[in-house]
């Protein structure tokens, strides 16, 4: 199976997608290529590929071996990787076979944040946490920092929901020597339809669903049609959970959202108690896309911490460890402060 590496037509060096300029740059001769130019390079490459495809069909039947087009080393990946780097010469290697047919994404959001900016932003985020041990960013080792395109399924769904509740309106007034309380009871019902657009669910077994959900929302306005050159310089995964497998999570989420939206339509009562709420969800469209994330793996005091950063918006997800010393320090500090304030106040008053 052949690997694609986009090479600079001027000097033959590797081309990587640069998020800060949203274009492709050659590391060696510093030439810059935009969207259109890269497409023509791609066309040239692919036509060459077709010529060699015949010869390789035999190999395809036996097994998948990839070799780096720059240095010839064997590229080792797992079954879901679709873009990676050669371990020896670090040239980006895109595996088109993993991205063909049903595995070809419809859209992609290219990276907007470059590696150094990601690291800086992460350290800044850490500095703002009062309960994080001061030496986390220095004493911990950044095991991995990689820009990865994670496969996502985007669902468009129509929902139809019905809610029934009891509403109460309470009035009190005083007349003579009596305090009157009047309670009016209402039987309340609402039915509504709505549409949710591009609700994401990650299609990769390896990634933590909660972590990915915390990265949301992505700005879909910057989503473009997929083409392989965007992956150059980053890692990418193809899905191993198809849209049917992740639909369950989407249903859960949409049911929750619908319940809340319906409940919001009941207004004007002193108190409301919901009797029942039912929601029907139907899928109207599913899209397979790749969304950019920076994945940080830190090793701190023997434990591994994984953080993710939205490669487009910079939002960070993940749990930082809590330093018991700092918890104690803050707790004692605040309680001592409040206590002395109260005692002083008590004395003065």
């Amino acid at each position: 199976m052949e690997v694609i590496t986009y090479k600079c037509p001027n000097c033959g060096g590797v081309l990587e997608f640069k998020s800060e300029s949203q274009s492709w740059k050659c590391e060696f001769c510093l030439s810059d290529f935009d969207d259109r130019e890269i497409k023509s390079i791609e066309k040239g490459l692919l036509s060459e590929k077709e010529k060699r495809a015949e010869a390789e069909r035999e190999f395809e039947a036996i097994g998948k071996t990839y070799s780096c087009t720059s240095c010839g080393a064997e590229i080792v990946t797992d079954s879901t990787t679709s873009a990676t780097f050669c371990y020896y010469c670090h040239s980006p290697a895109i595996l088109p076979g993993q991205l063909s047919g049903k595995f070809r994404p419809a859209k992609v959001i290219p990276f907007k944040i470059k590696k150094e900016a990601a690291t800086e932003a992460f350290i800044k985020w850490c500095k703002k946490k009062p309960l994080l041990s001061k030496d986390f960013t220095s004493a911990s080792q950044l095991q991995h920092l990689s820009g990865v395109y994670i496969p996502f399924w985007l669902f468009d769904c129509d929902i139809r929901g019905k809610i029934s509740a009891e509403g109460r309106n309470i009035r009190t007034w005083v007349s003579g020597d009596k305090r009157y309380t009047e309670t009016k009871y209402y039987d309340v019902g609402r039915s509504a339809t709505a549409r949710f657009i591009k609700v994401p669910a990650d299609g990769s077994k390896k990634t933590d669903d909660q972590l990915m959900e915390t990265l949301e929302p992505f700005d879909y306005n910057q989503m473009v049609d997929f083409s392989m050159p965007y992956l150059s310089g980053y890692m990418a995964e193809k899905y191993d959970l198809d849209d049917g497998a992740v639909y369950g999570r989407i249903v859960e989420r949409l049911k929750d959202y619908s319940n809340k939206l319906l409940r919001d339509t009941i207004t004007g009562y002193s108190s409301v108690s919901v009797r029942s709420c039912s929601v029907d969800i139907s899928k109207s469209k599913v899209q397979y896309v790749l969304l950019p994330t920076w994945m940080f793996t830190y090793n701190y005091k023997g434990k591994v911490y994984v953080f993710a950063m939205n490669g487009q918006t910079g939002k960070i997800a993940g749990s930082l460890p809590i330093s018991n010393k700092q918890v104690a320090a803050w707790f004692i500090g605040i309680s001592a402060g409040v206590f002395s304030l109260l005692t002083l106040g008590g004395m003065l008053l």
Partner: protein, 274 residues
């Protein structure tokens, strides 16, 4: 020889007498100067007053006089109590019952915690009971009734409406919560505040979800196509508002009126002529 024996026995008797006086000295509760009680009544009252006093932690003192030393019953009772150092604890908790034959008055003086237990209303009630025995001169029974009534009220407890009214200043005395209790509350509040803040800080160590029900909603598509609000029932109830008892003059329920005696200490109490 016989002389020394006589001498020794005299000394012994004297010592015995002295010791018995010393035993009674501090712990004597009944001072019957007007000689109103019989020997048996005296003993009964003495033992009852001591017993009850120790149990309730209130000094119960009974005094009868013929000569009021130029003082009013109130002054006499307060001063007698203060000067003889009666009372349990730092507040000198206790009650004194005075039968003043010179002015033909009975008077009850309260000190310390007893001020709270015996409100003005309760004192009047005790005087009512005691009064029945006075016309016929059954002073022993009157004093015993006093002890019994005080016991009842103390066992019942301080009434919830109790408040102390200082007649000299004309103001209600605010209950000072003891320092220890105040500090305890401050401690709890401080810990709670610290707990909440640290809790919030700990939550900050994680990322928070940035999506809600509106994030993916196509707002124009939200359409409520059916709604109903049916009024099914109305219920009306009422409660009668209790009017607070009038607090101008007279004795309101739960009031304990106090004044300062010559020694400067606070006393409550009340009396009646018979």
């Amino acid at each position: 020889m016989i002389n020394t024996f006589k001498r020794l026995s005299a000394v012994l008797v004297l010592l015995l007498l002295l010791s018995s006086i010393m035993v009674f000295g501090v712990d004597q509760k009944v001072y019957d100067e007007a000689m109103l009680f019989s020997e048996s009544e005296l003993q009964a009252l003495e033992s009852r007053a001591s017993e009850l006093g120790q149990e309730l932690k209130l000094d119960l003192v009974i005094v009868t006089i013929e000569d009021n030393m130029g003082k009013t019953s109130r002054q006499f009772a307060d001063d007698f109590y203060d000067e003889n150092g009666f009372g349990y604890g730092s507040e000198a908790d206790g009650v004194l019952f005075l039968i003043n034959m010179a002015d033909r008055e009975v008077y009850i003086s309260t000190s310390g915690k007893a001020i709270k237990y015996l409100t003005d209303a309760r004192i009047e009630a005790i005087l009512d009971r005691v009064y029945d025995y006075l016309p016929d001169g059954h002073y022993g029974d009157a004093a015993m009734a006093f002890l019994t009534q005080v016991e009842n009220y103390v066992r019942t407890g301080i009434p919830s409406t109790q408040h102390t009214y200082d007649e000299d200043t004309g103001r209600i005395v605010k209950e000072e919560t003891p320092l220890a209790q105040k500090l305890f509350y401050y401690f709890i509040i401080a810990i709670a505040a610290a707990g909440i803040v640290v809790g919030i800080m700990a939550a900050m160590n994680k990322g928070i979800k940035g999506t809600n029900k509106h994030t993916y909603l196509d707002t124009k598509s939200f359409n409520v196509f059916n709604r109903y609000d049916h009024h099914v029932n109305t219920q009306q109830t009422f409660v009668v508002i209790k009017k607070d008892p009038p607090s101008s003059g007279g004795s309101s329920i739960g009031r304990s009126t106090v004044h300062r005696s010559s020694s400067g200490r606070s006393h409550g109490g009340g009396g009646r002529k018979f």
